[in-house]
């Protein structure tokens, strides 16, 4: 149940008193993943599959206008109905999932790779290197992330690449912190000291001794960073600062649905459900995995 620094982009830790509430204290280690974990995983698998194979599915084009009446309710031809321009909503929700998933996964991967590497270096090297890296992460965390992402995207043109980079920038600092804290705690353990004493090379210690131990925590934190990134993309998209229409994204569909909310509430409803279920499923999986792997963040 521990709350990740990703769901709570923290700057309070800029203090020397690192106080992270250890929310895992109440829950004992879980032995089995619950049935809901697998339900969540199935939903994610489904969404990923339809997003990948969207072009092969027997659905109308997400951008074709004029094949159907606008604002239709669900029917056999259009399972979720059509939007205010007569575009098929099911197809738009499926194609919209692509943007969300690509941004969510890529931005988080950036955080894992860059933040993880910096965290390993800072945690293992210590001293001035650690001071510099941890210091710059604190400055990065001192910005309200959505606002800075907004500015970056505005001044670099809203494309998929820029949106991903802008959001990825903000997954770096939280992941760096997690990896750094874990690296520090593992680098004082006996097996690492044993390796150091026997003259094992530094690179080998890091990759053979520390990385395998730090990885599970990192990945479970990363799993919770993905829905965070999806929501951030949704917010940018909603404000018209992500991939531009007519390319559907869940965010810009909700924004378009807002304009006709009184007349066609379903247009905003379907992409909202898609986003909510995906975020909820990922949050839930992250939470379960943390209990399963017994991730403690109390010492971060």
């Amino acid at each position: 149940m521990a709350m990740s620094p990703t769901t709570l982009p923290s700057a309070a830790d800029a203090s020397g008193l690192l106080i992270v509430p250890d929310l895992s204290g109440a829950a004992p280690r879980k032995r089995h993943l619950s049935i809901f974990f697998w339900v969540s995983a199935s939903w994610i698998a489904l969404i990923v599959l339809v997003a990948i194979f969207a072009n092969l599915l027997p659905i109308p084009s997400p951008t074709a206008i004029g094949n159907a009446a606008p604002g239709m309710g669900p029917s056999w031809g259009h399972l979720l109905g059509t939007d205010e321009l007569g575009r098929d909503l099911l197809s738009r929700v499926i194609f919209g999932a692509r943007v969300s998933l690509i941004v969510g996964v890529t931005a988080t991967s950036l955080g894992v790779v860059i933040g993880g590497t910096l965290g390993l270096i800072a945690g293992y090297a210590g001293g001035i290197v650690d001071t510099l890296i941890a210091g710059s992460m604190n400055v990065l965390l001192a910005f309200p992330s959505l606002i800075l992402a907004l500015v970056i995207v505005t001044f670099t043109q809203p494309t998929l690449l820029h949106v991903t980079l802008a959001i990825g920038l903000f997954t770096v600092a939280p992941l760096c912190r997690v990896v750094r804290a874990n690296t520090i705690s593992f680098s004082h353990r006996e097996f690492v000291q044993a390796a150091q004493v026997t003259g094992v090379k530094r690179r080998r210690i890091i990759f053979r001794e520390i990385v395998p131990n730090v990885l599970p925590t990192t990945l479970s934190v990363a799993l919770v960073a993905i829905p965070g990134a999806i929501l951030a993309e949704g917010a940018l998209s909603f404000l018209g600062l992500s991939v531009r229409p007519p390319t559907p994204t869940w965010g810009n569909m909700i924004s378009e649905g807002r304009d006709v909310l009184a007349k066609y509430p379903l247009i905003a409803l379907w992409p909202s459900i898609g986003m909510l279920l995906t975020v909820l499923a990922l949050n839930f999986m992250g939470d379960e995995l943390r209990g399963y792997l017994d991730v403690k963040e109390g010492g971060l």
Binding site: M1, M3, T7, L8, P9, A11, A12, A14, S15, G16, L17, L18, I19, P21, D22, L23, G25, A26, T131, L132, A134, G135, N138, V139, A142, F143, P144, S145, L146, I147, L148, L150, V151, I152, T154, F155, T156, P227, L231, G234, A235, F238, L239, L241, I254, S255, G257, R258, L261, A262, P265, A268, S272, M275, L276, V279, L280, N283, F284, D287
Partner: protein, 321 residues
């Protein structure tokens, strides 16, 4: 005292970096102000003249010092779009955002504190399951979805509240609160989810302490133990998380202001972004980011007030640990 001094130095350092990044960001990113003001097909000569007028032909550090000097004297420059002083625009818009933030946090605390305490006290009861499950689900709700649900149900369907618009406080408290209710509620939801979760697990931990058992053994009533003995140590985490949460709230307030057309700093920034009003964007971002840093600084200072143990704690090499 020493602690406060160290914190203060740290605050200055972070504010310096934040201001430098705000300055650099809008100066280094593509899309020059000359393009924004004159249009893309302006003659090179016109661009050069404008750049000289705006001091854009000086090296960056000089311009930064110049800029920060003006800011410190309260001069944020003039908007490229309407020529109004940016400081005036910010002062006009800031109170609305502050009211939104304060109201949303009030709502969140009023709901979350009793709910969190009760959920922790009656661990695994159906109330707890409902509160925990509900707050977990709420975490998945971004403000732009919950806002639309409220607008659809309470404004479009049942006409309880106006869908958008803002009535200033000077037109009466009730009229003002009527336009602020839905926006504040939208913003409060995410905070409620976070606070309930934190408070619940804190209460569960605190209730295992020996002094709680002692209080129980003395026959003190449960409500007394919960409010007098258990709540205060639990607020420690609550305040931390509330401070951290401000970052999310600021992002959320931008969206909420956009949806409900509230003339706050978020709407000002977004309008400036859409019209490429570079000076206004810069001023707003600086105010928002520095405000965020300062709030976290204040939260840090609150710890010793809440927890006497911190007062005696040696704060060694703090800051960039």
């Amino acid at each position: 005292m020493r602690r406060i001094a160290v914190k203060f130095v740290e605050l200055i350092v972070v504010v310096f970096f934040v201001s430098a990044i705000t300055f650099l960001l809008l100066n280094l990113l593509p899309g020059s102000p000359a393009d924004a003001i004159l249009g893309v097909d302006a003659t090179p000569k016109a661009v050069a003249t404008l750049n000289r007028q705006l001091n854009l032909d000086h090296p960056l550090p000089v311009r930064y010092v110049d800029w920060i000097g003006h800011i410190l004297r309260g001069n944020f420059g003039r908007s490229y779009v309407n020529g109004e002083p940016v400081s005036q625009a910010i002062l006009q818009h800031l109170p609305v955002t502050l009211e939104l933030l304060v109201l949303s946090q009030l709502m969140a605390f009023i709901v979350a504190i009793p709910l969190g305490i009760w959920a922790g006290y009656r661990k695994n009861s159906w109330t707890d399951r409902l509160a925990s499950g509900g707050s977990f689900a709420l975490l998945a709700f971004p403000p732009f979805i919950s806002a639309l649900i409220f607008v659809y149900l309470l404004a479009v369907r049942w006409h309880v509240f106006p869908a958008t618009g803002f009535t200033p406080l000077s037109d009466g408290l009730f009229a003002n609160l009527q336009t602020m209710f839905l926006p504040s509620l939208t913003l409060a939801l995410g905070s409620v989810a976070i606070y309930v979760r934190v408070l619940r697990s804190e209460i569960i931990n605190v209730l295992e302490e020996n002094y709680i058992t002692a209080a129980r053994a003395k026959g003190m009533p449960a409500w007394w133990i919960l409010t007098r003995h258990a709540f205060r140590p639990a607020t420690f985490s609550l305040v931390t998380v509330a401070g951290i949460n401000i970052g999310l709230l600021i992002g959320g307030s931008f969206i909420v202001e956009e949806i409900f057309a509230l003339p706050g700093i978020g709407l000002l920034t977004l309008d400036a972004i859409y019209s490429r009003d570079y000076v206004t964007v810069q001023g707003c971002i600086l105010v928002v980011a520095v405000g965020f840093v300062v709030i976290n600084f204040i939260v840090d200072l609150l710890y010793p007030v809440l927890d006497p143990r911190v007062r005696d704690m040696r704060v060694g090499r703090t800051g960039f640990r």
